[in-house]
């Protein structure tokens, strides 16, 4: 049973980890846009 739960947990750890990287990239991009709009002012 340990192997089963480890496999399921690992699957979701990989997917959530990837989703976190996507979210971080969104945040960085948003920061860049904010910087650009501040420069324009």
């Amino acid at each position: 049973m340990n192997f089963l739960y480890t496999a399921y947990a690992a699957t979701w750890a990989i997917h959530i980890g990837y989703l976190v990287t996507v979210a971080l990239r969104y945040r960085n991009l948003k920061r860049e846009i904010d910087d650009m709009s501040q420069k324009d002012r």
Partner: protein
């Protein structure tokens, strides 16, 4: 579409939870392996999803290469139409000639031969219709990245299943090795896209992806062609599976497909958004007044 995303995300989360419940509680316990066999409901759908994503990456990469010049684009379109027609004609001829029909391997159906060409052509033209030239490039990055995530799941859950069943974590047999090679090819594709700033990067990456995709059929058919440690396919290939297990497997695959679709959607939007920002930054840099050297 923006408002639909949270609703679809919620529905997918519910669907994934239901699929997990089926995998852990409803699917029958396998007699030889016991409960550890339930890894199958995550391992196999992840592999199928990764293959599908790499196939879409292949189509997008081909389109990026051929659509840059109108003449090659036209040739590719006609080639796809020819492939679709030929696969139907080949199936009809094999069906009419008994000697050819008997020469077919037992697992290959005439309907598979007849539908493979039109399905590939249909997908190709669908991608062509839905995405611009820049869009197919973004689609290629998206599917490669999400595909690598799913392929990582396969490479992690596989050894976790193998250890209690085979007694080893890993063996260098053709199925396992070709899957690792497939993962390495797409990781190198992503590394190329991430760290190369040359204008030719999308073309080089597309060429790499086309060759990388050749490994997908090798991975899939390796257990049909070679003698391997890996079990034989459960669908087709002479394999058999309890209908209740098959039902749970397909539900899990569908749930993972919905999840992959949503992840691809957000990653694609991020890519297009990033390109817009880079374009604006480049324009601003061009328009910025420069100090004139005296």
């Amino acid at each position: 579409m923006k408002k639909a995303f949270p609703i679809l995300a919620l529905l997918t989360a519910v669907f994934l939870s239901y699929a997990l419940y089926l995998a852990l509680e409803v699917a029958p316990r396998e007699q030889t392996m016991g409960d550890v066999q339930r890894i199958f409901y995550y391992h196999v759908p992840s592999a199928w999803t990764a293959f599908l994503l790499f196939f879409i990456n292949f189509l997008a990469s081909i389109q990026y290469l051929v659509r840059r010049t109108p003449s090659t684009d036209k040739v590719a379109n006609w080639l796809l139409i020819t492939v679709a027609v030929l696969s139907c004609v080949a199936a009809a001829i094999i069906g009419m000639v008994p000697s050819l029909k008997s020469a077919l391997p037992a697992d290959v159906r005439l309907s598979s031969i007849a539908t493979t060409g039109p399905i590939i052509a249909g997908l190709y033209f669908l991608v062509r219709k839905l995405f611009s030239l820049e869009g197919v490039d973004a689609l290629a990055i998206t599917t490669a990245e999400v595909g690598v995530a799913f392929c990582t799941v396969v490479l992690v859950t596989g050894p976790l299943w193998a250890r209690p069943v085979w007694g080893i974590w890993w063996t260098w047999d053709i199925r396992l090795t070709s899957t690792l090679v497939l993962w390495l090819i797409y990781v190198s594709y992503l590394v190329l896209r991430r760290f190369s700033s040359s204008g030719q990067t999308p073309v080089l990456a597309a060429a790499l992806a086309v060759f990388g995709a050749l490994d997908v059929p090798l991975v899939y058919f390796s257990i049909w062609i070679f003698r391997t440690q890996h079990p034989q396919p459960v669908i087709g290939g002479g394999g058999s599976i309890d209908p209740r297990m098959l039902h749970v497997l397909l539900i899990n695959w569908l749930a993972f497909l919905c999840f992959a679709g949503l992840v691809c959607w957000s990653r694609y939007r991020l890519e297009m958004f990033k390109r817009q920002v880079e374009e604006t930054q480049a324009l601003e840099a061009l328009l910025e007044p420069r100090s004139v050297p005296r």
